[in-house]
């Protein structure tokens, strides 16, 4: 058995489309310093560091060359991990393994993205940065100013998720109006989270329904932004955790599974959909393994809050089902009843989720960070109004096949 490990410190930056006020290492340092302060540890006390962002994003191929001395890591073991959209989840899980193995007592895990420094054409992510890089072409295509502003604000195209959404609708019987509901809920929750990017107090599904269709069934209002931002977590062994903070968030279970069965290349390359891209068996298997490790028998009853990786609204619904929080094809019925609202029976994405804040490398770590805040009772305005004993965080990405599931709890037992 691994030894007990807890998250004892959380740090994140304000997320915006363009953090032009700081350089990339300054952005990363902002989150790292906040996490160490929160954990009540000094950089000298950190034994090892794990870092990561999406490979090549931000215009820098190897940021690990120059961030070491910005985050208290010179002369210490540093590991860089990069698994596409899941990076933040994998970086955090690697932080856990460093401590659980007994090799290190205090480990800092940092994940980030600074999209706005580069103009990469993220063909698979299909986000706002594509728009910035291609604005001349957009106007040549006849896009008007209104569309351009909307694109700058909420992102671009639809990537792979649009097909996944179609499969999910076909399979579950939900409609576009349910995507409007998820999007509105995410924007409302984000308005309570001072670090979140797209904030819209009192946003209603009707507000989202008024936005233009991008690619059926997605409207502008269904699309995540491209954010600049960073997140950091401090992991510690049980003895250190108890000494440093009052309420550590204990890591109770975790798993990371890849699933080959939905490989996409995009229509321009002649892509492949081996099977229904909403099946996501990797998420289901990862959840089952993480729950077993955490001693969870009935996730529908035992889990108090969930942070799901949902850059697009169908993903909150389908991943909630894959993580066993609702029966297959039934998450949209719970959504209709308000069960997934911040004050509902099983709140989903009280932070506002990836739909509202998407610094890609950091996004999957932010799910774990939010769960840690909820367990520690430090989520401020977006704290769910009930005792949180068990929280589950999910990450999705790689290309479209990499899932992480991490279970946090208020007690190590």
């Amino acid at each position: 058995m691994p030894r007990p490990v807890a998250i004892i410190g959380c740090g994140q930056t304000k997320h915006l489309s363009r953090r032009r006020d700081v350089s990339q290492p300054e952005l990363i340092a902002e989150a790292a310093w906040k996490a160490m302060e929160d954990a009540n540890v000094t950089p000298d006390e950190v034994d090892a560091v794990v870092v990561g962002n999406m490979q090549g994003f931000g215009g820098v191929a190897q940021p690990d060359l120059w961030i070491g001395d910005w985050i208290g890591a010179p002369g210490k073991p540093v590991m860089r991990v990069t698994t596409g959209g899941t990076t933040g989840g994998t970086v955090a899980q690697a932080g856990y393994y460093h401590v659980a193995s007994g090799l290190h007592n205090v480990v800092l895990a940092v994940a980030w993205e600074k999209h706005s420094d580069s103009k990469e054409s993220g063909a698979t992510t299909g986000l706002g940065h594509v728009g910035f890089g291609a604005q001349v072409n957009l106007f040549r295509c006849g896009m008007g100013l209104k569309g351009f502003i909307a694109t700058s604000g909420v992102g671009m195209a639809a990537g792979v998720a649009v097909y996944q959404a179609m499969y999910y609708m076909h399979r579950s019987g939900c409609g576009i109006e349910h995507f409007d509901m998820v999007a509105a809920k995410s924007r409302r929750n984000a308005a309570k989270n001072k670090y979140a990017h797209l904030q819209w107090p009192n946003c209603t599904p009707e507000d989202i329904a008024k936005t233009e269709m991008v690619a059926y069934p997605f409207r502008y209002g269904h699309v995540c932004p491209a954010s600049d931002g960073a997140a950091a977590l401090v992991f510690a062994d049980g003895n250190t955790a108890r000494k440093r903070v009052r309420t550590p968030a204990w890591v109770k279970g975790l798993a990371s599974i890849t699933d080959e069965e939905n490989q996409l290349i995009s229509e321009s390359g002649g892509g492949v959909g081996i099977i229904d891209s909403s099946e996501q068996m990797g998420a289901r298997v990862a959840a089952q393994k993480a729950y077993k490790m955490a001693g969870i028998r009935d996730p529908q009853k035992e889990i108090d809050v969930a942070e799901l990786y949902q850059p697009f609204p169908n993903q909150e619904l389908l991943f909630a089902e894959k993580l066993g929080l609702f029966d297959e094809g039934k998450a949209w019925l719970a959504l209709e009843k308000g069960e997934t609202d911040i004050d509902g029976r099983l709140p989903c994405d009280p932070s506002g989720g990836v739909m509202s804040t998407n610094a890609i490398g950091a996004a999957a770590m932010l799910r774990i960070l939010e769960c840690a805040l909820q367990v520690m009772g430090k989520a401020e305005e977006h704290q769910v109004p009930k005792k949180v004993n068990i929280a589950v965080a999910h990450g999705w990405g790689g290309s479209t096949n990499y899932n992480t599931v991490t279970v946090l709890g208020s007690s190590p037992d």
Partner: protein
């Protein structure tokens, strides 16, 4: 860290220009046979798993679930059914060419007759009200074919 009270000092941006990333994809024996079939015969070839019988399009060497090597070739299509679709209305740059894609256009997943996996391609109908999952389609080949995915120009409703 960067901001101070009072007057905000100018923040400098250093610009670096565009980077070209030349890239060749060497397709290997399986994709090469697939592309040769499109180019030389206007036929679509797939591989079949000797263990589970699943037919993969595009063809590949290994069946993941069985971890079995596939060396049986079968012809699939050129007709099939629409498994999923979307109509893209937002213009953006084709990442393969750097040229703008004109909209609207329709992406489809086609389950070709005889195949167990689906192929992503284009459909020549852009009114989503006229398209439904389960409709039958047929591949339209180009006259001038060069050994790429786009030797199939698009699929059309039948």
């Amino acid at each position: 860290m960067a901001g101070t009270a009072g007057e905000t000092p100018e923040l400098i941006k250093v610009h670096s220009g565009a980077v070209e990333v030349p890239y060749d994809w060497h397709c290997g024996p399986y994709w090469s046979r697939f592309f040769r079939g499109l180019r030389d015969e206007k036929k679509i070839y797939a591989t079949k798993c000797p263990s589970c019988g699943r037919v993969y399009i595009p063809p590949r060497e290994v069946c993941g679930p069985c971890f079995a090597r596939m060396d049986e070739w079968v012809e699939v299509g050129p007709e099939g059914v629409i498994e999923m679709f979307t109509v893209v209305r937002l213009p953006y740059t084709n990442p393969s060419t750097g040229e703008p894609l004109s909209v609207p256009y329709t992406d489809v997943y086609v389950r070709l007759d005889g195949a167990d996996t689906s192929l992503m391609h284009w459909l020549d109908e852009t009114d989503e009200k006229k398209i439904a999952v389960g409709m039958r389609v047929r591949a339209v080949f180009r006259d001038k074919r060069t050994g790429t995915m786009h030797d199939i120009e698009h699929f059309k409703l039948i």
